[in-house]
Amino acid sequence: MSQFAVEAHQLVKKFPARPGTGDRPSPAGRGDTGEGSESAPSPKKKRWQFWKKESKAIFTAVSGVDIQIQRGEIFGLLGPNGAGKSTTIRMLCTLLEPTSGTAHVNGYDIVKQANDVRRSLGTVLAGERSIYWKLTGRENLEYFAALYHIPTAIAKKRVDELIERMELKDRANELVEKYSTGMRQRVAIAKALLARPPILLLDEPTLGLDPQAARNLRELIAQLKQEGHTILLTTHYMEEADQLSDRIGIIDTGKIIALDTPAGLKRRIDQKEIIRLEVSGWQAYIGEKLLALQEVENLVAHRQAEADLWEVNMQATDSRAVLPKLVESISQNGTRLVNMNIVKPSLEDVFIHLTGKALRD
């Protein structure tokens, strides 16, 4: 038995940049039972460029990822959209073939022993679209239980168990198309748990859920760890990663740029303090002025939901000393300091420290 639940070595994934093909409902055709489909049209080449030789554009989504996940730990893969989280997960669950590199899940090679890998995994990828809407919750679970080769007697008990646990009992026999998003997500999670897999892959599981549902899900994840599951979780919510993970890998532009426990990561910028300002009427030149100050580093300004209010984060070695200069630089020309906080560094600040940009888009 392999020491690690999941082990990846220099995983690389490169995509050729291709225009997509689309499907148009054929007008004279017989059609089918389901609804017609629409998809993105392929980009039209300009006629005069036709004779030019097309250079093969290659997009590197993942450029050499190394991961070792211990059995029984929750590993958080944290990074902004487009960082390569979903691509990494898709390679690990065998939906995507890596361009190079190797990985083992539960001791099985993801390319050569794909079927064994799938038997060892429970995966939640697309949430509500990953289950059959024209089947009931129960029927969905019974279907997938059979696909996972769970013997019938055991399957029946297991389905009942999971329906109970995911609080679907009242409506288990209604069609999924009538469920709320949260309920559909719970069915998707139950589906992942059916075969009691040693390893769970959860791709942005709380995305789109209301705060209460998200909280419940996080509690569930913690319980699942207690029950012995190893969990690989991707998210771009830093509080979630912080709260749940034993270790976190921060991924950006296809590379893991930091890997440590949450506390360990925060310690990296411990010497620094974080100054968090709320400013109205922020102008870019003020940011440049402040950055020119010796004590100030890594300034990131974020426009808030309310029209003219900006959140400005920066790191400073000695916040008390720099404060007067801050106030003076800001309170000019109609720019106003609304609020100010000096805080301990959070994971987001670690991220900013490492990459110079914010975690949220």
């Binding site: 995509f15 039972t33 697309a126 059959y132 080769h149």
Partner: protein, 283 residues
């Protein structure tokens, strides 16, 4: 605490997976009740103009022009049998690719692909319900259209059915290859519509291949389906066959083995390519 997976694959669970896939398709099919009913009656709708057109060319119920090509003046039996066979052919031929396209559109493809079952098993499973509904549809059509237009099979039913079997099995090979193409192109509708029309045209569903313009006949002769339809009709309706009937049956059996093997190879290769491109599940 050491977790042990509940997944225990063996022959029984493989068969059960097949059954469960078919059962799922059956349930989903009838949960669109109007479409299900429409499906059952569509063949009769398409056959009707053919019947009346035949009448316009016939005297006293005998299509003499047609008889010169086929050896029998019973036009409607010829057509009805051709339609039944073609329905089964289309189900296998295109059904798997079409099923995959639907899965891609609804988002459910990835969930199926993540399960530790063989892809070909999934594909075959997807045809089972369609074969059942096609059987129902065909029986309904033969009964109703038979009553309205006349269906007189005077030959050997058993031989006819036995001949159809290798043809259909061989078609699974083509169905696998087509399913792969659908995964890659993420397109099904146009290919299916145009393709099935052409297949019907060239294999003799609606008219004897012999009546085609001479320069098109070689295309028909290259399609194993042509011999399948021809042989089944030969057995059941005692029409003239293009080649001696034993030769045609042999061709079908050979076709079965060759096509199955090629089709599976193509599918696996294409599926691998799709996983490399990363477009699995997109639509």
């Amino acid at each position: 605490m050491e977790l042990v997976t509940l997944s225990q694959p063996n022959i029984k669970t493989q068969l059960r997976a097949l059954f469960v896939i078919a059962r799922k398709d059956w349930k989903v099919f009838w949960r669109y009740p109007l479409n299900a009913v429409s499906n059952v009656f569509q063949p009769i709708i398409w056959i009707t103009p053919v019947y009346f057109m035949g009448k316009a060319f016939s005297t006293n119920g005998q299509a003499t022009g047609f008889a010169a090509y086929s050896g029998s003046g019973d036009y409607m039996s010829y057509i009805l049998l051709g339609t039944v066979l073609t329905n089964f052919i289309l189900t296998v031929f295109w059904g798997m690719g079409y099923a995959l396209k639907n899965d891609m559109d609804s988002g459910v493809l990835e969930s199926n692909w993540l399960a530790p079952v063989s892809r070909l098993l999934i594909l075959v499973g997807r045809t089972l319900t369609s074969l059942l509904t096609t059987t129902i549809t065909s029986i309904v059509m033969l009964v109703i259209a038979g009553a309205l237009f006349g269906f007189k099979p005077t030959g050997n039913t058993v031989a006819a059915i036995l001949t159809a079997i290798p043809m259909l099995i061989g078609l699974y090979g083509f169905g696998f290859a087509f399913a792969g193409v659908v995964l890659l192109m993420r397109e099904a509708n146009t290919l299916v519509d145009v393709g099935s029309f052409l297949v019907q045209g060239f294999s003799g569903t609606n008219f004897p291949v012999k009546s085609l313009p001479y320069w098109l006949i070689p295309v028909s002769l290259m399609l194993p389906l042509t011999y399948g339809l021809d042989a089944v009709r030969g057995f059941l309706l005692k029409t003239n066959t293009l080649l001696p009937i034993n030769v045609e049956v042999t061709i079908l059996i050979l076709f079965m083995f060759v096509m199955l093997w090629i089709g599976a190879q193509i599918f696996y290769r294409v599926e691998r390519r799709v996983r490399t491109l990363g477009t699995l599940g997109q639509h």
